[in-house]
Symmetry: C2
Subunit: 304 residues, 2 copies
């Protein structure tokens, strides 16, 4: 009941937001970096160590008030193999604290290969007959350009292990309309993807009323949110674009259903870099992140 667990976390904390953990070095306060750099120099391994320390500090500061984290794979990959190690450690650490983990990987491939991604992030790796967990997240983002056979392996993990996915429907970036908003046989492409999700979600309902097949719908496009919301009422929305990308709480109101549920709003930079606004050189990064998470929660709750 993976999406069920997310909904329970959201209700328990009264907070429909997710903390994006983008492993960007420029987000880490110098006070967390200094000794590591002095000892290890400017290496990918040292950078990963500093990032892990920051991630754990952020999780410690947030886990009792924020229901989920969303690590963005790209920034971990930019730290090489050491980045893969700290991605895994960050995920486990958040899970130990009861947080729901959405791997923002936007993966896509043909069937057999999509299975490898699905097993890596949601399932298990079969090593000579032993089933071993790898990144073992609750959920992952996926790109549907390849159609059903690229999605089915993820659905298999949703069915077998009660995991969930978020399919890219309408992304938050300025050029997302280049393909997503163009007309495909009478409706925009993003609507065609949303329509397909109704098929993909079949048999994946949970008692909370939502199914395991969610949608990524950018906060920066409130009109599109409204359209997608009505098409797939049982899909949870993962909503990027609040704050740093310019969308306000008002802009995301359409992502929610009348039950006050149905969406989880991401903030990465806003929370991670909150310390940059307090003039304490980051020594208060935990307090600053927590204060920003509370401000964001209240801002969003007041708008829905």
């Amino acid at each position: 009941m993976s999406i069920q667990k997310l909904v329970e976390n959201i209700k328990a904390k009264g907070n429909p937001t997710v903390a994006g953990l983008d492993a960007r070095l420029e987000y880490i306060p110098e006070c967390l970096v200094e000794d590591i750099r002095k000892e290890h120099g400017a290496t990918l391994e040292a950078a990963a160590m500093a990032m892990l320390r920051f991630n754990k500090g952020l999780i410690d500061a947030l886990y009792d008030i924020v229901p989920a984290i969303k690590p963005q794979a790209a920034y971990y990959e930019l730290l090489g193999p050491a980045g893969a190690s700290i991605l895994k450690e960050t995920i486990s650490y958040a899970q130990e604290k009861g947080m729901y983990v959405i791997a923002d990987i936007k993966r896509n491939d043909i069937g057999a290969t999509a299975s490898a991604y699905a097993e890596a992030y949601l399932g298990k790796s079969n090593v000579w007959g032993e089933e071993l967990p790898v990144y073992n997240c609750e959920s992952a983002t996926v790109n549907a350009y390849l159609g059903t056979d690229g999605i089915e392996p993820f659905l298999k993990e949703c069915r077998a292990r009660e995991k969930s996915i978020f399919v890219l429907v309408k992304t938050s970036n300025p050029s997302s309309g280049e393909f997503q908003n163009r007309d495909m046989e009478g409706k925009p492409l993003f609507v065609r993807v949303a329509e397909k999700m109704n098929e993909w979600g079949e048999g994946l309902d949970t008692p909370c009323g939502y199914n395991q097949v969610g949608a990524v719908v950018g906060a920066t496009y409130p009109e599109e949110q409204k359209i997608v919301r009505s098409l797939i009422p049982k899909a949870y929305f993962l909503v990027p674009g609040y704050g740093a990308q310019g969308a306000t709480a008002k802009d995301i109101a359409n992502a929610f259903n009348d039950d006050g549920l149905g969406a989880i709003v991401n903030s990465s930079r806003g929370i991670m870099c909150a310390w940059k606004k307090t003039n304490n050189n980051g020594t208060d990064y935990q307090e600053a992140a927590r204060a920003e998470a509370i401000r964001m929660r209240d801002d969003i709750v007041s708008a829905i």
Copy 2:
């Protein structure tokens, strides 16, 4: 001049094919696994060690006759952080032997995040002012669903470091038509993506006549290949689907231009599992892979 280097490699070896290195444990002969499993047990790290040994053996057997390798990221990710380490080692090893490396990652994200992917696979990672290479491939596959801002960071690396990309246009899987072949304002979506590539390739020409912005076009769809070939004559094609996915040499003839260039055909399972057909328990996996690579080369060269 990255695509230039690929073309030079293809010409020098008279071979328009790429060896796909899918890190699948079931592809490794038992004779390469036994001692590692005995010493380390069934762990992700042991699996990665065995896979690296197999990859190096394959590269040793192929580098003088095959111009390029295409590691498929999904299978390395399924081996966790140890998989990331051997991906990096496999790439360096192939490059030392003069092979062109295409990272099959199909990445996609909004601008800032796409930059992290582009830097990780084609560029460098900035760690506290030091520019460090990470996976450092010659080329990578990308998914264009997010439009120009998701592609631009990769083009930046193409311009700055003479790298290349292959954009997913028409994929080889059975359900690729669900979105890719539907009509978008008068033309199929895959044609709309190909049209956009003409913009993305601007300023990225190389002396060989091809530009740095290539296309993934599946061997399983010869008609679509013909259409895309005529639309983007200066784009190199990366052609998956030959062999194991059912396409023959005849099926890929449309991917080539009249100069006999313009496409590179992938084979993963055919080459990696050639040993399974010789009844020697894989002790001859290098000879078998080499023989299959030669057979494939001759099969394809005879058809173009």
